[in-house]
Amino acid sequence: MTDDPTGRTTRRTVLAGGVSMLGAGCLGSGGGGDGDEDGGSGDTPTLADHPVGGDLDDQPRLGPDPGTAAGTIVAFEDPSCPRCAAFEAQTVPKIRSELVDPGDASYVVRTAPLVYAWGEPAIHALEATHARDADAFWALLAHYFDEQDALDTGNVLDRTETFLRGETAVDGAAVVADAESGASGAAVRTDVDAAEAADVSGTPTVFLFRDGEYRTRVTGSVSFELVRQSLGL
């Protein structure tokens, strides 16, 4: 695996391999994750020792610091994933207004290039943007979801630069240069490693922690009520 975006096939292949193994596991054992790392009936992992809980301070997040509020929501998303767009449109606004804004939960986004090829350079651009301006990250992520149908591998970075230049204070050309050179590869790799370690096979996949302890995980554009009730908030 490489951090260079030009090596996207390699990284995607590795991640897809994990996906395939999980899929076979689902069919064979009715599992979906090995259970131990997510708690199961044994010791409940904490946010600190769960695979998705590493490096959270460096991740895009909204609300209180992860682990300090009653609830912590860690969502793996791919900007090219249509169901992630539905999740962002239908569920995330309520998470923000009803859980994050009152201080009851923190919301963390991690990225996983699982769906269309243009998602990977987009993720590199997102990481490069986040390194410069957290607010611009959220704006760019929303832009990707809004414009999914118009984006492909040939235009995603050009459109990224245009958007950042027009709508944010971030240097769009510098972001694109970082995305193309692989300068943001370490941040991308961190999320990919977390996704693989947690057997994330589809997006969005949402991990829910209550009072610092793992509560459950759920995949798909699930409803706000499911998130809220799972957290007991």
Binding site: L27, G32, G202, T216, Q229
Partner: protein, 191 residues
Amino acid sequence: MISLPTRAADWRLMGRTARLVLGGPAYAAVAVVAAAVALTGFVLSQNLPFTADALAGRVPAGILLELYPFVGTSYGPATGAVLLLVSLLVGVDIALVAYHVREHRLSAEGSGGSLVGVLLGTLGAGCAACGSAILAGVLSLFGATGLVTLLPLDGLEFALLALVALVLSIHWLADGMRGGEIRGCPVDLQR
């Protein structure tokens, strides 16, 4: 030669057969239960860890309902509608198979489509997420993990194929009952 429902009479026969079989309360109950089980299987198979946590009491079991089409937000209107239709057809199909085997003392020939329909319906339910584990797992068996990204409907194609398989199954079952009677009524009025 494989019989396909190409004539209007074939569709009328399917409808009449289904109506006569489901007119019996026991078989109607079988259809309802089978449809509910199929839909539950479709939606919960996409989230086995969450289902296990709900059943273990880690999260309220009632919120499993939020995974169902038109209750939660996991499925868009088109996917949700197709999944419901597939589930209903599974119910009808299973009821016809049960009637065919039990009342006519015949084999379950023609019911293979129901199994195919259930499998394809499960794959179609993967539309709730991008890169569904089950869909990816099945496609990986054929070395085609990335195939789903080439599907214009993002995997809904499988649920539509499930509809085709189930319609064919119902057609073959109805065809197999042609000439017989259901609760005293001739299945095929044209004979």
